[in-house]
Amino acid sequence: MSRGGHATRAPIVEGRGLVKRFGRVTALDGADFDLYPGEVLGVIGDNGAGKSTLIKALSGALAPDAGEIRFEGRPVLFKNPLEARAAGIETVYQDLAVAPSLDIVENLFLGRERRTPGILGTVFRRLDREGMQREASRRMSELGLLTVTDLSQAVETLSGGQRQGVAVARAAVFGSRVIIMDEPTAALGVSESARVLELIRTVRRRGTPIVLVSHNMPHVWEVADRIHVHRLGRRVAVIRPDTHSMTDGVAIMTGAVVAGGAE
């Protein structure tokens, strides 16, 4: 996958002049946002810069007071995360939002279970366990996640990285158009983080663009194609890992340097 080359392509998700106020606090102050097809976009910013408000607005968790969000060129207004998800924007939350006592297959299909065809499914609403199991195993191996051999294992018996894998697989399995990952490595150790970063690359190779929100600069610099720098409620720069160092990024993020060379 070539980096860049999107100048002529339209963004898949864009935000224009997004504003969100909580009482007297302005969390988003006319923020812009662009995600292009097939890229990993890092989003960095200091605490309180409004990153998570931005992400919530994009994923439907809250509605902006002003501004416009466009998805595949059309203006959208998601009332809740389910609507965003139905449109194809999946969000993976930092606190590993999975149901611990359900098994991997059940977690992957939670909220979109499949029923057995025929009368068993329509009248008795019987779940198509075998079908879901097959599908899960196929998708997980496509993502290189089949290190866990037993898909009927309860998620609580998995390590943090494996759980994150399940959470990402949930998003990736169902042909979502965009995956937003909020601090996916925050709760993980070194080798598990590496595995999640590898997973991000795999998902991108398969063509799904990813928004990676993270405090961890090395992780962002490792996988991102472009980096959106958020400061005081708006986008102050978009930089590239190959033209800007982490030090540059941090300087822009904290306001020590006014962004130069931003796109």
């Binding site: 995360p81 389910l82 998800r85 969000t91 939350y93 939002a97 999975v98 149901a99 611990p100 006592s101 359900l102 059940e106 977690n107 939670l110 909220g111 979109r112 279970e113 029923r115 008795f124 609403r125 019987r126 779940l127 366990r129 309860a154 609580e156 018996t157 949930r170």
Partner: protein, 324 residues
């Protein structure tokens, strides 16, 4: 070794109560001998746990969502009173009276569910309140009077149908007991083989994660309370079959007994973990313990002592099994 046992019990929640039940049956087989192991006596145990069994199914559903229902006994009695009064005192057709009784049970459950989901009140408090409310309604509607068995028999034999006994191979099963077993099977299917069941587990496990995954947790909770209420009403019908009459004073200890069966059956009070198979075994364990101790000539107070001890052991075991 201990590690393997732990993993086994963790993966198969009904295993622990299953083992306890087998041990209890073996113990009383030795202590009370043939009198205990007779088919007739064993079917008697099943009859004795029928009413609690029904309520425990409802209780399991609610506890799986990390709730608790203290009003199950009151819903049962209120429903049975409604059925009896309508059919006997007001001359309704028994089928209609039964249907309205079931509707009252579902309605009581719906009331609990609305308080829990709309007003976000803790289930313990909600059902503590409605327990008293339902009991008061029960005393008002029944005018604190028992409807005699003969009157029901002549006016509405359908209401006593659950008490009909079916002799099979020296046992005496009742329609009510069979109905209870069928209900356990139906709820087991719903919990394990339908999306609704998975949503019940997910909601009890981690409601926020379930919501983010697209489960409408409030709807799931409400449905659990409504289904639970309806099951309590079925228990009310079975209660008329068991005691013959309709008494506003019946089933006073049923609340706590249903919770006992659920807890001994290995369902976690923290939600998301457990099964109705465990609850069925839990109800049988309590039944076997009471019956076996009585046949062995042990004073009733030691039955209570034994059941109490079993609850604490069951919860301690659950804590251990839950550790990952």
């Amino acid at each position: 070794m201990l590690d393997r046992l732990h993993r086994f019990l963790h993966r198969h929640p009904p295993a622990a109560p299953g083992i306890v039940l087998v041990l209890a049956v073996a113990l009383f087989g030795v202590l009370a001998g043939n009198r205990f192991l007779q088919p007739f006596n064993l079917s008697l145990v099943l009859q004795q746990v029928t009413i609690i069994g029904f309520l425990a199914v409802a209780q399991t559903l609610i506890i799986l969502t990390a709730g608790i229902d203290l009003s199950v006994g009151a819903i049962m009695v209120l429903s049975s009173v409604v059925m009896g009064r309508l059919a006997v005192d007001f001359g309704w057709s028994p089928g209609l009276a039964l249907a309205l009784g079931l509707a009252v049970g579902a309605g009581c459950g719906a009331a609990n569910g609305v308080f829990v989901t709309r007003f976000r009140l803790p289930p313990f408090i909600v059902t503590l309140g409605t327990w008293n409310v339902f009991l008061a309604l029960n005393l008002w509607y029944s005018r604190s009077q028992t409807i005699r068995s003969q009157d029901i028999e002549s006016a509405a034999p359908l209401l006593q149908w659950a008490g009909t006994s079916i002799p099979v191979l020296g046992t005496r099963l009742t329609v009510g007991s069979l109905l209870m077993v069928v209900l356990f099977g139906a709820v087991w299917y719903a919990l394990n083989w339908t999306a609704w069941g998975k949503h019940v587990y997910a909601t009890g496990d981690d409601p926020r994660a379930a919501r983010l995954a697209g489960v409408r947790t409030d709807r799931v909770l409400l449905s659990v309370y409504v289904v639970g209420g309806a099951i309590c009403a079925v228990a009310g019908w079975a209660l008329i079959g068991r005691i013959g009459s309709v008494s506003p004073q019946a089933g006073m200890t049923a609340n706590l007994d249903s919770i006992t069966a659920v807890v001994i059956g290995g369902t976690s009070l923290f939600g998301g973990r457990g099964s109705v198979v465990g609850t069925f075994l839990g109800a049988l364990i309590v039944g076997v313990l009471r019956n076996g101790l009585a046949l062995s000539g042990v004073d009733v107070l030691w039955q209570e002592f034994g059941v109490g001890l079993l609850i604490i052991v069951a919860v301690a075991l659950d804590q251990w099994i839950r550790r990952v």
